[in-house]
């Protein structure tokens, strides 16, 4: 193996380098200039994102543990863009007095979880996947408990840590059974030796349960709303978009590549999970008043829609899933960007507080409305095309009843998304949130999101490009 092979790990190595540079910047910067680390790391991360778009060769390292190809590196670039927006949006919050001491802590931990997700996305065996999964979830627990003085934040951290350790335990138990029956932990060998014995199926079900916790599918979703509510808003956005997206991506790849031979066995399972996730996520979202909890249940419902796409199988399934994650990153980050801008300014995060927002802050209101329309899937914006491709992919397998349930759920979701729009535009309020101008970084972040929502929907070449890569895996 020569050194050039390491270029395959370019995304990961650059991120590790970036983390080390930020550690040194923290050590050698003076107390009064610590806040400059925020913009410094955003610039560095932007360079890393741009470098990530350079073409990558296909290949594997460490005897097949680490695989990279153009599909996976495209997905890493999508994650990079998302994290860039998250960093931009959380910078105003990081500059606050109470967080001044631990700015670099936040950025370092955030980037460490991203390294874990990259390794997870590129994994070629269960060991690498497990290491990546843990690296992606352990620092997140510390980040959720970032506001050490707040009881809610501590609660969110403990809940996230305990649930993610339990789910990892269940996942590993499943992997141990798969190892015992196939004699290997490499994806390719497992796929070749996978028969139809009961122990293998049991191991597979444990595996799905473990991943279900990470993606917050319905019987395993109970932690989601609590953690999302308690964690700082930047982390909530990160959890709901980046972390969930990476977990769904690797889940899709493993379902297709490793367990592809028994797709007739897992089809009904994923079918049931998809129906339950969509329906229960939507029904619970209706009764929420806190915006973070509301977006938590909406993100559970979105995971259900993605499962519908997974059932499409083949290139079409994986393409529609990746495309939807791209759309979802821009859309959800726009919604979270508005929520966090308002929270930073006024400390309010309930739906009632948004009454009359349009009169005082018309621009923010329009961004929020665009994001909500995209989440609900109303035609001119990207969310519609995302859902359209997901449903098309499921319909190509003849799952018309599932598509019908999905469409009904999309209609149901329109009700609660428009409830927020109603609060913003119609409901009167005696003391609405006063006019404010958020800082430059937050505005750039929101602008990126809006461009993403509009462009991704109209540029058909993006879907075509992802489709042409997806046949490589």
């Amino acid at each position: 193996m020569n050194l050039q092979n390491f270029l395959l790990m370019r995304h990961e190595l650059l991120l590790i380098l970036l983390v080390i540079v930020i550690i040194f910047a923290e050590i050698f910067s003076k107390e009064e200039t610590k806040h400059r680390i925020i913009n410094f790391s955003i610039v560095l991360f932007f360079i890393q994102t741009v470098v990530g778009f350079l073409p990558v060769t296909q290949g594997e390292l460490f005897g097949g543990m680490f695989q990279n190809d153009i599909f996976r590196s495209t997905f890493k670039n999508i994650l990079n863009i998302g994290v860039l927006i998250v960093l931009l949006q959380s910078s105003a919050w990081l500059r606050k007095e109470e967080n001044k001491e631990k700015i670099s802590e936040y950025i370092i931990l955030l980037l460490s979880t991203l390294i874990g997700m990259f390794f997870m996305v590129s994994s070629g065996d269960f060991l690498m996947m497990y290491i990546g999964l843990e690296l992606a979830s352990l620092p997140l627990a510390a980040l959720a408990a970032y506001e050490t003085k707040k009881a809610k934040s501590a609660e969110a951290g403990i809940k996230l840590l305990l649930i993610s350790s339990l789910s990892t335990g269940i996942l590993l138990y499943g992997i141990s059974m798969i190892y015992g029956t196939t004699g290997s932990i490499y994806f390719a060998d497992v796929a070749a030796n996978f028969g139809n014995s009961s122990l293998q199926i049991l191991g597979f079900i444990f595996f799905v349960a473990g991943m279900g916790f990470k993606i917050s599918l319905v019987p395993f979703h109970l932690w989601t709303a609590d953690v999302y509510e308690g964690a700082p808003i930047g982390i909530t956005a990160y959890l709901s978009v980046i972390s969930k997206g990476a977990a769904i991506f690797i889940f899709t790849i493993i379902l297709y590549k490793v367990f592809g031979a028994i797709s007739h066995t897992w089809n009904p399972l994923i079918y049931a999970l998809a129906v339950a996730t969509m329906t229960i996520g939507n029904l619970f979202a209706i009764r929420q008043n806190n915006m973070k909890r509301f977006l938590a249940f909406s993100s559970i419902a979105q995971a259900g829609f993605i499962l519908v796409g997974i059932l499409g199988l083949g290139d079409m399934g994986s393409t529609s899933v990746v495309y939807y994650i791209l759309v979802y990153i821009f859309t959800n980050l726009a919604a979270f960007g508005v929520v966090s801008a308002i929270y930073n300014e006024s400390g309010k995060e309930n739906m009632d507080d948004y009454n009359g927002l349009y009169k005082t802050n018309p621009k923010l209101s329009l961004v929020m409305t665009l994001a909500l329309f995209s989440l609900a899937g109303i035609p001119p914006v990207a969310g519609f095309f995302g859902k359209f491709f997901l449903f098309t992919s499921a319909a190509s397998q003849g799952l018309y009843i599932l598509v019908l349930i999905g469409v009904l759920n999309a209609t149901l979701s329109l009700y609660y998304y428009l409830k927020v729009a109603k609060a913003i535009f119609i409901d009167p309020s005696d003391n609405p949130i006063p006019y404010f101008k958020s800082d430059f970084n937050a505005r750039v972040g929101l602008l990126l999101c809006v461009i993403g929502i509009i462009v991704v929907g109209f540029a058909a070449s993006i879907y075509e490009a992802i489709y042409s890569f997806s046949s490589l895996i």
Partner: protein
Amino acid sequence: MIQDIPIQYFLIVSTIMFFVGICGFLIRHNLITILMSIELILNSVNINFLVFNKYLFPNQLQGNFFVLIVVAIAAAEASIAIALFINMYRMYNNIDVENISEMKY
């Protein structure tokens, strides 16, 4: 292959450990005990991996190495968990799981 001990015995022990861990996670009130339950689950996984490796695939080491990594990561997990518990202890002066039930439904 260990003399006179069939593979089933090990698997029965590890299965019991796994479900004891799950039960402990669900019904215990002390956070440290919940953490111990998680360790039980992880250790039952370790037993599984080692036994499968020793009995079924004795000429390779994949299971052994998996166990090494699981043990290392479990240590990292425990350290973060303890840090969060200490943070909680400063707020409530105990580590009962009832405290962290402010957010519901």
